[in-house]
């Protein structure tokens, strides 16, 4: 993603080999992790190497995958979005509480995306124009959303999610569920936008050096605003997919969602102001994490062990692969 633009037509083959080696070494840790997991998998359990199982893993990863796509967008411009949990909680509740039952189904589909968009706009205004701290702003928005959900659910308990919506997750084309197709489609769209559109250039410049971006004439605030709005829409789509994967709506939002999203983004080679993984890196990282947790479950390792492994991986990935790109 990053070096592809500038690769000239190589003159000699030895030059090519050297480049290839550098390129492999420069890959985000996600690839290595996945490669190791795939290599080890046969020894662990036969299920893990069953291609049908891979489709299951992909299906389970779809909501997180789209959320990770969103998170990696804002991290590229040195911001952060901690409102994922709030958007998820809100969307899940509204979809499962029957509030929208009397309206056309389109509204239920549009609701998470609209919520995500609104949240993204609010975050964008707060971070880019009011210059409030991204950590605190997005967190506050999330807290407000969760609070509203908890308040509403006291009066009206969540029930089941609409059955017709679940087809997003259960239906499939050749084994790939619709949710996975949505995940892949949005990833491709974002990747294409980054590669071919101006917005990608601005994101990279702003991430590398916000001050220089301003002095060069790049609209700093607008770029960061756009990152948050886009992230919001993507989070909304992720929430929609998540709803379709649930049978019953829950109140308790996953605090882990934000941690998982951040972990996958970092493992995928994207950190504050640095993009060395593109769109593919975090994508692979999400798959790698799902695979890893599946494998840990086979070993009988439950949540505590998974948390520890996740923490260790984040730490190692950050230490070995990344350098810090500026502080809070």
């Amino acid at each position: 993603m990053t070096t592809a633009n500038s690769k000239p037509s190589a003159p000699s083959s030895s030059f090519n080999v050297k480049r290839a080696v550098f390129w492999i070494i420069g890959l985000p840790p996600a690839y290595y992790v996945l490669a190791i997991l795939i290599a080890v998998a046969p020894a662990v359990s036969a299920t893990l190497i069953n291609p049908n199982y891979w489709f299951v893993i992909l299906k389970q990863s779809a909501p997180l995958g789209i959320a990770v796509l969103a998170q990696s967008l804002v991290m590229r411009v040195r911001s952060i979005d901690l409102s994922v949990s709030g958007v998820f909680a809100f969307a899940i509740y509204v979809a499962s509480s029957g509030l929208l039952n009397s309206y056309p189904p389109l509204l239920t589909v549009a609701m998470p995306i609209v919520v995500g968009l609104l949240v993204g706009v609010i975050n964008g205004v707060l971070v880019a124009y009011v210059r409030a701290s991204a950590v605190i702003s997005t967190l506050s928005v999330s807290a407000i959303l969760i609070g509203v959900v908890q308040y509403m659910s006291a009066g009206r308990a969540p029930g089941s999610t609409p059955t017709w919506l679940r087809v997003l997750t259960s239906g499939n084309i050749h084994g790939l569920s619709y949710s996975v197709i949505i995940w892949i489609a949005t990833s491709v769209l974002v990747a294409a936008a980054f590669r071919f559109l101006i917005v990608g250039r601005y994101f990279r410049a702003v991430g590398d050096n916000p001050r220089a971006a301003e002095t060069t004439g790049i609209p700093l605030a607008r770029t960061i605003f756009v990152s948050h709005v886009t992230a919001g829409v993507l989070t909304g789509i992720a929430a929609l997919v998540q709803v379709s994967a649930l049978a019953v709506g829950t109140i308790k939002p996953g605090f882990d969602t934000f941690m998982n999203a951040l972990a996958a983004t970092i493992l995928g080679g994207v950190t504050f102001g640095v993009d060395r993984g593109g769109v593919a890196g975090p994508f692979v990282a999400v798959v790698a994490f799902s695979f890893l947790f599946a494998m840990l479950t086979v070993f009988g390792i439950q949540e505590p062990g998974k948390l520890i492994v996740q923490g260790l991986i984040i730490a190692l990935a950050a230490i070995i692969y990344g350098t810090r790109a500026g502080r809070i």
């Binding site: 070096t3 633009n5 500038s6 690769k7 000239p8 071919f196 559109l197 101006i198 917005v199 990608g200 250039r201 601005y202 990279r204 410049a205 590398d208 050096n209 001050r211 220089a212 971006a213 301003e214 002095t215 060069t216 004439g217 790049i218 609209p219 607008r222 770029t223 756009v226 640095v274």
Partner: protein
Amino acid sequence: MSMLVEMVGINKSFGATKVLSDVGFSLEPGSVHALMGENGAGKSTLMRILSGVYQPTSGIVRLRGEVVNFRTPKEARLAGVSTVFQEFTLIPNLTVAENMFLGHEPRRADGSIDRAEVIDRSRRLLADVFPQLDPMAIVDTLTVAQQQAVEIAKGLTSNADVFIFDEPTAALNSADVEHLFKVIRDLKGAGKAVVYISHRMNEVFELCDKITVMKDGAWVKTAKAEEFNLHSLVATMVGRELQNFFPSRAGETGDHMLEVSDLRLDVEGPTVQFSVKRGEILGLAGLEGQGQREIMRALVGVESAKSVTVRRRGADSSMRAVNVSSGFSNAISAGIGFIPEDRKQEGLFLRLPIYDNIALGKQLNRSMASVAWRSVSRVRDIIKSLRVAAADPGAPVGKLSGGNQQKVLLGRWLLSGVDILVIEEPTRGVDVGAKAEIYRLLRDFSERGGAVIVSSRELAELIGLCDNILIVHDRKVVGQTPAVGATEESILGTALGSHSTHDQRAAVH
């Protein structure tokens, strides 16, 4: 008299760039020794080696006869070398007193800082030198001149034997300068050695016993101050070869291309106005910090001024207004580009490839949803024509030398197609070889129907490069001269000659 400091055979390289070649320098106790040379001569680097910021690539430093090897500024300070840096090393949220004693605070028996002592000693020291400074004031709330005073006061807190002053009077007015001189003379009387780095000839002649001249990283000459006069000193610093260094000036220039008027930096200040012709290179000259930077940035909209009106000649030969108050992007659409002085912090994207840095030129002022311009071959052509020394456009720009980085920035604006270029310090941090290339590139730009406005601390550079020079002092234009026949003395004379009243804003005393 035995030498207090001896530096012998000092060589220093940063990566592939050699900045000091076999330099020797000695200091006697009880003397004030001027270190002079153009920008990039290596004076600051040499003194940074003495003060522990850098280590020499090879060579020996002796203090009081013994070989020393300072690995940190703190080691140098503890050994008795105190430095007042050109770029302040103050902590903005600490008080004046805390800054003065930072890193060597007097302690009590239990290890805590003796705050009363810090305040007391600061007060006594400041009373002598800068009585107007409040030791309890927070540094962030001070003016630049006051902050410089703090930086100087810092150097006086340690009981050092060697004091290095690097351009100490840049932001001080004449009363403060007199005070500083008194301090320095007291130090000399107490047997200390003082190194005085400054571009200000009159100060050097008034204060210093000896003068060492450096040029292009090498030692040129050391002699008693009385053995120099203004002309011989300048000649030694500048050298004869300068004639062929600059491309020839414009033969003829066209109509006015850009008009700046009603430029007001302060609410009750004077207005600035000037214009640039097609094919002309116009320079803004003067002492440091006199407003050149603010004027340049206001006219492109990178920083805001109280008021500014900019008009440029359009394709149909009429003058049309450019609304720079709304921001830099308007200037860019109007065909005006800007290259900042601090290219690493404000101009380049160091981790991104050369290609990206240059290609940005065609990607500005576009809607974010539009397709990005891409052409590796076009960028390669620019790299080749600018002679940027890099094999691979995919290499990150941060690895290039200063001169090549500047060329990348130039390449960006050349690609963008602007025809007016506003550039600060075009050859700062650029080695001698690349300087001539950059001058050539700027002249080519103007010859092709463009105009260049350039500001620089190096008057010699402006004289050599420009067609006309505006002299700026006290945030206004006080004179104008054709570059032909202008000298550094004549420019400074015009600048200082207009300095009539005591500037209250810079008052520290």
